[in-house]
Symmetry: C5
Subunit: 347 residues, 5 copies
C-alpha cells in the first residue's frame, strides 16, 4: 500500500524550485525521442546526446520532444533550453502532483495521470505525465517508457492526418485524448472484474470475495483522486485566454471534456455498485447465519428435551410402570416441537 502514499519527506526543508526527483521510479537515464513535423516535412530521431534537442528550439511548426524517465539533470537542462521556470521543473520531477494546468509566459504546463495495469491484472499503476506546450513545441515527460503515445506517432507519420495540418496545440489535444482513451480501457477491465465479483457474490460468496470488493473499492479511491481534478484542468485549458490554442483545438477539447466527465461518472457508478455489493454481501451473510441458527435451534430444541426424557428412563429401573407414559410424553413433545416450528415457518 505504501506506494500510494506521497513520500515528500525527502524534500521537506529544501528551498522551493529545487529540481529533485520525488517518486518510486528513480531512473539512471532518460530516453528522449524527437519528432519534428509540418504539413510537408517529417523527421523522427532517438536522441543520444541531450544537446541534439537544443537545435529544435527555433525550428518552425511542431517539435515534439518526448522524455521517458524523470532524470533530474536531463530535465533541468532541457527546461533551461526551452525556458521552463524552475518551479515547473520541480513539479515535473515530483510525481505526486495533482492534475493541474499552469500558464507561464507564453507556454502552458499540464500535468495529469496515466493509468496502466500490471501483469496480474489486479493493481492499477498510476503514472504521471507532464506536457509543456510552447509556440512551436510540445514537451512530454513520462515516468517510464510506455506505448500509449504510439498510435499518435503512427498518425503523425501519415502525411494526410489532421495532425500534420495543425500546430502543437492540436498535438497536445491528441496526446490528452490518447491518455483519456486509455482510461476507458482500464475502466473496462475494472468493470469486468466488478462483474466477475458480483457473479461470485450472487452464486457462491467466499471470504475472499469481500477482500476483492475491498481491494476494488480501494483502487476506485485512487482512480477517482487521479481523474477528478482533470475535469477542472480541461475546462481551464479550453477557457485559457491564450493564442497558443486555436479555435479548432478548442472545439476538440470539448470532446475531451465530455470523455473526462464520462470517466468520472463511470468511476462514481462503480463506487456505488461496489457499495451495493458490500450491502448485499452483509445481508446474505446475515441470511445464512439465520438459516444456520435455525437448523441448530430446530435440532437442539427437538432432541434436548427428548434426551432429558430418555434420561428419566433410568427411573424405570425402580418404577418400571413408568415406561408407557414417558414414551407417550416423548412422542408428544417431539410432535409439539415440530408443529411449533411449522407455525413459526421455520420448517
Amino acid at each position: 500500500m505504501s506506494k500510494r502514499i506521497p513520500k515528500r519527506s525527502q524534500k521537506a526543508g529544501l528551498p522551493p524550485g529545487t529540481p529533485m526527483y520525488i517518486g518510486d521510479n528513480p531512473t539512471e537515464t532518460a530516453h528522449i525521442t524527437i519528432i519534428h513535423y509540418s504539413e510537408t516535412e517529417l523527421e523522427e530521431r532517438e536522441v543520444e546526446q541531450l544537446e541534439e534537442c537544443f537545435s529544435f528550439k527555433d525550428k518552425q511548426t511542431v517539435n515534439w520532444i518526448n522524455v521517458d524517465g524523470l532524470h533530474a539533470g536531463v530535465i533541468a537542462q532541457l527546461g533551461h533550453c526551452f525556458g521552463v521556470p524552475a518551479l515547473v521543473l520541480e513539479d515535473i520531477l515530483n510525481t505526486h502532483q495533482r492534475p493541474k494546468l499552469e500558464g507561464f509566459d507564453g507556454s502552458l504546463y499540464i500535468v495529469l495521470k496515466m493509468l496502466a495495469c500490471d501483469g496480474s491484472h489486479q493493481d492499477i499503476i498510476i503514472e504521471q505525465v507532464s506536457l509543456v506546450l510552447g509556440p512551436n513545441y510540445v514537451l512530454s515527460f513520462q515516468e517510464k517508457i510506455g506505448d500509449v503515445f504510439n498510435p499518435v506517432r503512427q498518425r503523425i507519420r501519415n502525411p494526410k492526418s489532421q495532425l500534420r495540418q495543425n500546430g502543437p496545440d492540436y498535438l497536445t489535444y491528441v496526446l490528452l485524448d490518447a491518455i483519456i482513451d486509455n482510461y476507458f480501457l482500464i475502466l473496462e477491465m475494472m468493470g469486468e472484474q466488478i462483474g466477475t465479483v458480483e457473479d461470485e457474490l450472487l452464486s457462491a460468496p467466499t471470504p475472499q470475495t469481500i477482500k476483492t470488493i475491498h481491494h476494488l473499492k480501494r483502487e476506485m479511491i485512487y482512480l477517482r483522486q487521479s481523474v477528478w481534478p482533470l475535469r477542472e484542468v480541461i475546462t481551464a485549458l479550453s477557457r485559457e485566454d491564450t493564442p497558443l490554442i486555436s479555435p479548432i483545438t478548442r472545439t476538440h477539447l470539448r470532446d475531451v471534456y465530455d470523455h473526462t466527465i464520462q470517466v468520472i461518472e463511470t468511476i462514481e457508478t462503480y463506487r456505488e455498485m461496489l457499495a451495493g455489493m458490500l450491502e448485499l454481501y452483509l445481508s446474505s451473510m446475515s441470511n445464512k447465519m439465520n438459516e444456520v441458527m435455525k437448523t441448530l435451534t430446530i435440532i437442539a430444541t427437538i432432541f434436548i428435551p427428548l434426551s432429558f426424557i430418555a434420561d428419566l428412563y433410568d427411573l424405570n429401573l425402580y418404577w418400571p410402570w413408568g415406561y408407557l407414559p414417558l414414551s407417550l410424553l416423548m412422542l408428544l413433545v417431539g410432535i409439539g416441537m415440530v408443529v411449533y416450528f411449522k407455525r413459526k415457518k421455520w420448517l
Copy 2:
C-alpha cells in the same frame, strides 16, 4: 452486467472524428423514414435509397428524417449531405454518450437516452437517441426500430395539430416530450416492482427479496446516470441564444424541464425507498435471529441442567436415598429457569 459498461476499447488510438459504431446493437442496414410537412402539405415516405433524402435538404418548412439503426455508412452520407460535422457524426454512432447539447454552425445536436423494458419486465433497456435540429429539418437517430415516436406521427397527420403550424424546433420539442413521457411509463413500472417487493418484505421476506432489491438499486443507478444530465441539456436548450428556437417552443421547453425534474426526483425517491427497505430487511433479519436464539436458549437452558441432574440419578444405584432431593432439585431448577426468563421478558 457487462452490457452496461461502456466498451470504447475498440476505438482507443483512432484519430478523433472517425465515424465508427460503438455499442451493442450493430446493424446491417438502417431503416429511414421521411416526413415532410407544412401547415398545408404532408408527405410521408419510407426510404429505399439513401439518395432520396438529399432532395429534402432544401425543401421549406419541416423535414423530419428518422433513422432506425446506427449504420456508419448511412449516417456518414446523410451527415455529409446536411452538413453535420465529423465530430457530431462520431458521437451519434457512439452509443455510450452522456446526454448533451452541442451547437454547430446553425444547427443543434442533442443526444439523450430512451428507456424501454424487456419482455420479462425486469431489466431496463437504455437506448441512445440523437436529434439534429436544423433550420428546416430534424434528423433523429435511434438504435433500433421503436414505437415511441408513433404518437408524434399520428399528430403530424392531423392537419389541425399545433405541430403543423410550427417549425422544426416545435417538432424537436414534441420528440423530447415523447421520450420523457415515456420515462414516466418506465418509472411507474419500477414503482410497481418496488411496491411488490416492499409488500413481500413486510409479509414474508426471502433471500430472493434482497436480491430483487439489489437488482432494483442497480437499475436505479443506471437510470439516474441516463436521466440526470438531461436537466442540464434542457436548461441549455431553452437558454441557447439561437434563432432556431422560437419563443413558443421555449415556453413549452419549460414544461419539459419540469417533467425532467420530476423524473429525477422520482428516481431519488425510489433510491431512498430502496435504501430504507434494505435497512428494514436487515433489522427484521436481526429480529428473527434474536427470536430464534431466544428459543434455543430457553430450551437449552431449561433442559441441559435438568439432563445433568437426571444423569446424577445413576448415583442412586448406590445411594438410593437420594431420589427425593434430586427430584426436588430438578423441579426447583426447572421452575427457577422459567421464572428467570419471565422476568427477562423472553417468555
Copy 3:
C-alpha cells in the same frame, strides 16, 4: 403504496396542452364558491351555473373563485374565461405537479401541496392546490372540499381585517400562509408519533416498532418531496418583477418564506431523528442478542462438561473406586467455569 407513484401513463402520447385530469380523485362535478369583496363591499355566493362566474371577471378589487374538485370541463371553461393558457390548465388538472411558480401574461400561476392526515392518523394525504393570481381575481383549485381556507373566509367577513384593505395579491399571501400554517399541524402530529415510537423504542421495542419507524421514514420522504420545492417558489414569488404584488405583500411573503424554511428544517430534523432511532434499535437488538447468547453459553459451558463427567459414572459400575475423584473433578470443573465467567465479566 401505489397511490404515491405518479401515474402519468394515461397521458403518454397525447399532445401537450390537452386538459385531462390525472390523479386519484376523479370527480363528477366541481363545487364552486365566489367571494367578491372590497373595503366596503362583500358578496359570497355558491355557484350553481358556471356562467355566474363570468360576470365577476370585470368586477373591480378582489374576486376569489374557489373550485373544489378538478373537473376538466369546468376548469377548461373557467380558464378560457379568465384567459388562463392551455398549458397551465393542463398543469392544474395534473395532480402530480411539483410545486412551482409560473408567470403568464399579467397573471401568476402557483401550484403547491396541501397536507392532511386520514382518520386513523397514520398516513399523510397529499393534495394539490393551484392558485391563479390575476389583477382583480384569485382562482384557487383544490382536489376535494376542504376546510383549510375557512379561517380565511372568516377573516374576509370581518370588515376591519387587513384582507379587506388589500388586493388579490394579499389574498394569495393569506391563502399560502393558511396552507403552510397547516403544515405545522401535520408536523406536530408526526412529531408526536415520533415521540411515541421513541418512547416505545427505549422501553420495550417490538418488531412492530421498526415497521412504524420505516413507515414514518417513508412518510417523511413524501413530505420532503412536497415541501422542498416550495422554498424556491416563495423566493421566486417575492422576487418576481410584477406589478401584481404590492410592497406590503412582499414584506409578508418574507414571513411565509421563514415558515417554509422552518418546515423544511423540521422535516430534516425528523429524518435525522428517525435515522438515529434505527441505529439505536439495531444496537439494542445486538445488545440483547449478546445477552441471550451469554446466558446460553454460560449454562451450556457449565453443564455440558458436568453431564459428560456424570456420564462417566457409568464406568463406576465396573471400577467403583472412581466415585470420589470424579465427584471432585465435577466440583472443580463447575467452580472453574464460574470463576472463568466471573473474570470475563459475563456473570
Copy 4:
C-alpha cells in the same frame, strides 16, 4: 421530547401580525430593566410601570431596555412606543423562530437562541432571545430571567469601558458576543460528556452507554439547528447597508463571525465523534458476540461428541471388551478437537 417540537397549532388560522405568545414558558408578568448610559452618564432602573420606559425613547445615546418574560401585552405596548411593526412583535412572541435578521425602517431586528443546561447537566435548554436595535436604543427580550447579560451590565458600570464610548450598535455586538461566548461553555460541557462516554465505551460499555450516545446525538441535532442559521445572520448583519452600525462595530462583528464558525465546526466534530463511537460500539458488540460464541462452540464441540461416546459405554454392559477402544476413541476425539481449534486460532 415533545418540548422540542414547535407547537404552532394554537395559531393556525389567525391573521398574521396577531401578537400572541407561542412557547413553553407562558408568563404572568414581564420583568423590565432599563440602563441608560453615555460616556459620562449612567442610570439603571427596574421598571414597575411600563410607562416609565416611554420617556427613554427620546433620550440620547444608549438606552438598553431588557425584558425578561414574553408577556404579549407588555411587548405590544413597548413595541408600539418604539415603533416596532406588528409582524416583528409577533416574531418576538413566537419562541419557535429560526435565528434571523430583519430590517425595518431605521431599525434592525435580530432573533437568536440562547443555550443553557438544566441542573442535572443532561439536557440543553434552548431559549429565544430577540434584539431590536434602533438609533438610540437596544431592546432585548428573553423568555426567562437569566444571568448571561450580567457581565455586560458590569462592564457598562465601568466608566472606562469601550461600551461607554460607543453607541447601541456596539452594545448589540457585546450582547451577541456574550450569547455566543456562552455557547462555548455549553460545548465544553457536551465535550466532557462525550469524553466520559467514550472512556466508558472503551473500557466497559453497557446498554446504557448506547442510550447516552443516542441522547447526545439528539442534543447535537437541536444544537445544530439553533446555531447553524446564526452564521447567515452575522454575515447579513456585518454587510447590512445601514448607518446604525459603525465601522468599529463591523470590525468586531468579524470576530463574532469567527466564533460562530468555530461553534458550528465544533458541533460537526462532535457529531462525527458520536457517529464514530456508535460504529465502535457496534463492532465491539460484534467482537464480544464472536468471543462468546467461540467459547460455546469450543465447549460444545469437545464435550458433545465425548458425551455421545460415553453414552455408548452402556453398550459395554453387554460387550465388556469394548472399553479400551472406546476410551481411546474418546481421547482421540478430544485431542483432535483441541488441535482443530488451535489451527483455527480459536484457542
Copy 5:
C-alpha cells in the same frame, strides 16, 4: 481527549480585546530571536530584553522576530511597538483559533496550525502558529520552541538564497511552505500507520485493531479541522489586494495552494480508507461468526440426535432385541446429517 476541546470558558464575560492566554501550554517566559537581513547584511540575535526588538521596527528590508511561547505580557508589548491591534493580539494568544487571514492597516495577520507527533508516534499534536506580515518585518509566534523553521534559518544564512533577494512577503511564503511541507511528514507517518493496521486487518484482526482504526479516524477529524480552512486562507492571501505581496511571491503562493489541496485530498483519501477498513472488519467478523456457528451447528446437529438414540439403549436393558435397529438408525441419522450439510455446502 479533553485537550482537543476548546476551553474558552475562562474568558466568557470578559470584554473583547483583552489579551489573555487561552490554551494548554501556559508559559512563564517567551523565547525571542531576531534575524535582520538584506541582500548584503545578516544579523541574528537571541533577545534577552524585550526592548532590544524595538530598534528593529524602523530598520529597512527584512526583520524576522520569532517568539516561542505565548506570554501575554511580552506579546502585548511587542504588538504595541509594531502597531498590532488589540483584537489581533487576543487572537494570537487564543490557541483555539481557526486558520484565518486578517488584514489591518498595512499589515496582514495569518493564523494556522502546525502539526507534530509525540514520541510514541500515536497522537498528533496540533500547535498554533501566528504570522504578522508588515512592510519591513515578519513576526512569528509559536506555542513552544520548535525546529520546523530551522531549515528556513539555514537558507537565510546562505547569501545566495532567494530569500536574501526578496522582502518579508517572500519570507512569509517560505515559512508557510515550511509548515505545509511538515504536514506531508505527518501524513506519511499516518499513512504508514494506516498501512500497518490494514495489513493486521487482512491477516489477523484483533479487538485492538478496531480501536486503532477508531483512534486514527479520530485523529483524521482533528487534522481535517486544522487543515481545511487553510485552503481559504491561502486563496485569500494570493488574492489580497495589498502592496505587501509582490508578484513573485504570488506565483509561489499558487504552489503552496496546490500543496494545501493535496494535503486535504490525502486526508479525505485516508478517511475513506479507514471507513473501508471498518466495513471490511465488520464483514470479516460476520464471516467468522458464520464459520464458528456452522462448526457448532454441524457438531451439535450430528451428535445430539445420536446421543438421544444412544440414551434409548437403556431401553435395551428390558427389550434386548432392540440393539440392531437402533444401531442402524444411529448410522442412518449420522450419514443423513452429513449428506444434508454437504448439500448445503457447509462441509
